[in-house]
């Protein structure tokens, strides 16, 4: 019989269960079991965010199936815009896919909260096979937690035709900041009447602002006192880089940020309205179809008082709570193999991370000399990331344009960004 007391008791118990359910389970099996043997059966899930890379990933799964015919891999892809929102919900609900893509800004968050499998003992995975600055990105407290999939570095894309019309020689090696500014100025002055810019400006972080800050001897993120990271946006190098960009906007050489908010820099370059574009190899896929593609070339990145490039790449990770670790290990090891990297390279899907397989990618898009990007990887610096990177990325999104808005308060706005970012960094555990 239901009495008030039993009802209350039941409600209380539910409450306790709810609270208990919210608390983190202390014990999960962190050990990495040996990978499945070719004859073993199993079923795993695999999640990615790029629809365009789905065919290449499917080819890799098919190749995996030839070795492991009884392991079923179910691939799903979610749009990048909501991918990490979704991944966070999956992690909260203990429902992560067995194997999934991760990126630099989100890696440490998942690794530090014990969501990712430590891959130190994974058979068939040797970090030495990938560029060191890339494996560093996916190392947490000395152990690898993801396998590099591909990488992007930055270089200077240029439009030969526009440079020639303005009387500028195309870059053969790395330009200095001054040469870059002068070339931009010459083109803008010569062709500005046709609404053509020397460089299309913008506030891209990885492709434009990070490398410039590092080239000026500054930093984005550095180890501070007590192990907390600190922001470098108020460092002299950062101010120098911001002032360099601000100066070109002030002098009318590059479009101002109000303009580039409505006219995306890569679109300007893509449609032949800008002669230079500092960006990554990811542009190759778009530029292949550009109306001005026959005029395009790539030169090494510009340099300041230092040379500095930034490398970033996607990683393959395994859930620490995967229920089928042997099968997931086998698949992950295969994803990291030379064979898998060659498949994605030949498909032109992405620039592979496995050292020595890049030729296949360069040949897949022969229009451009993409080897510039591969050479840059050797000396590039790791992409700056901390535990809650997405939080300060949003601050960059909000305040980079304001810093370059020409409101006369560049240093104050940069200090504001640094202060807010330090607030985020101080909250990291």
């Amino acid at each position: 019989m239901i009495t008030r007391r039993s009802l209350l008791g039941a409600a209380g118990a539910t409450g306790v269960a709810l609270v208990g359910g919210c608390a983190r389970e202390p014990e999960i099996d962190r050990s990495l079991e040996p990978p499945a043997a070719p004859g073993d059966s199993g079923a795993i899930t695999f999640q990615i965010w790029d629809k365009a890379q789905e065919p290449a990933m499917q080819q890799i799964i098919d190749a995996f199936h030839e070795q492991y015919p009884d392991i079923d891999v179910t691939m799903s892809s979610a749009a990048f815009a909501s991918y990490f929102e979704r991944l966070r919900i999956q992690a909260t609900g203990d429902d992560l896919p067995d194997v999934f893509w991760i990126n630099g800004p989100n890696f440490e968050l998942y690794a530090s909260y014990g969501m990712l499998q430590d891959l130190s003992g994974l058979e068939g995975f040797d970090p030495a096979n990938y560029p060191e600055n890339l494996t560093e990105l996916y190392t947490y407290q000395g152990s690898p937690y993801a396998i590099p999939k591909d990488f992007d570095t930055i270089a200077l894309w240029y439009n030969r035709d526009l440079l020639h019309r303005a009387g500028v020689d195309e870059p053969t090696g790395s330009w200095s900041w001054e040469e870059y500014r002068d070339a931009s100025e010459t083109v803008t002055r010569a062709l500005g009447g046709e609404q053509i810019w020397g460089n299309p400006g913008g506030v891209a972080n990885q492709a434009y602002i990070y490398p410039l800050i590092m080239q000026a001897g500054g930093f984005v993120l550095d180890e501070g006192k007590e192990g907390k990271a600190v922001s470098g946006y108020d460092s002299p190098g950062a101010i120098e880089a911001f002032s360099f960009l601000d100066g070109m906007i002030r002098d009318g050489i590059a479009p101002d940020v109000r303009y580039t908010a409505e006219n995306v820099p890569s679109d300007l370059f893509n449609s032949g309205r800008a002669a230079l574009l500092q960006s990554g190899n990811w542009e190759a896929a778009q530029l292949q179809d550009s109306p001005v593609r026959e005029h395009l070339g790539v030169a090494p990145l510009i340099h300041g008082s230092e040379e500095a490039n930034v490398i970033h790449g996607i990683g393959y990770a395994m859930s620490a709570r995967s229920r089928n670790k042997p099968a997931a290990s086998a698949f992950l090891a295969f994803l990291g193999s030379e064979e898998a990297h060659r498949i994605q390279a030949e498909a032109g899907a992405a620039n592979p991370a496995f050292v020595g397989t890049n030729d296949a990618y360069i040949e897949a898009i022969p229009e451009f000399s993409l080897d510039v990007f591969v050479e840059a990887a050797e000396t590039a610096r790791p992409y700056p990331a901390s535990q809650n990177t997405s939080a300060w990325l949003q601050l960059e999104e909000l305040l980079f344009p304001k810093i370059l808005s020409g409101d006369g308060e560049l240093e104050k706005n940069a200090a504001d960004l640094a202060m807010r970012m330090n607030g985020v960094l101080a909250d990291e555990s």
Partner: protein
Amino acid sequence: MNHDPAPLTRRRRRGRDGLWPLVFLAPLMIGVVAFYFWPILATVLNSFASFDPFGGRSFAGLENYRTLLGDSFIPRAVLNTAVYTAIVLLGIPIALVVASLLTQKGLRFSRFYQVLFFLPAVSMPVAVALVWRMIFNQEFGVVNWALSVIGIQGPYWVTAPWWSLLAVSVVGLWSSLPLAVIILSAGLQGVPPELYEAAQLDGAGALKQFRSVTVPLLTPSIFFLMIITAINGFQLFDLLFAMMGQANPAMADTQSLVYLFYSEAFRQNDQGYASVIALLILLIIGAFTLLQFQAQKRWVHYD
């Protein structure tokens, strides 16, 4: 035998009804409690908590409230939200004029005009925002083209501070018109024609009739619209988000309160502080609505 029969009857009736009234209320009450009361209560509780990105929670005392007091984005966001709401409220007098024109006797194509004025209500907000973004484009937009015809160089509507808030507010006003026009048209049709006849006999012209007959009789509808429009105004988010886009130098100075809430909850992974912002929005809307209810005694006619 000196007991009072009345309480007995009452007691017996309650006993006979048993739990049935509660059972019948339950479907509604469960919904209200689960989807309104509980979230508000949870927000209050969460405002005292610190969150990790994967849902873990710990008690943080007044930490989030201290953050609120020290956050320099907040005053500007309050101001932006208030300016937006004020501009959108200007839509009510405009809607009043439009509604009285639409309900004029003998107006040709009145249905067609009604459809035109209702169109914004059935268009998708994000699509609307993207179209307006093009209309306001500095280089190719229709607005600046029109201004250039009369010799004015138009501003960067969407990417310069203040102009951006004005542009978003104008679109917000435009989107709020349909509801206001519909409600006021309905109100106008409820005005007894003999009042106009009486006013005419007393020698009132069209304008005088509008001021002394139409407007006073519509005050309940106007009041209702003011409440609804103000609440919607304080919740500005999607229009702002879609119209401003990425890498916008005006964004830092054009954030609304709900935009800040979104940033904190979904970008900064700080649900505790986001809860405090949500409570602030609730408080502002509550206070403003209360104020309006106090003020209405002076100007709303219910007879």
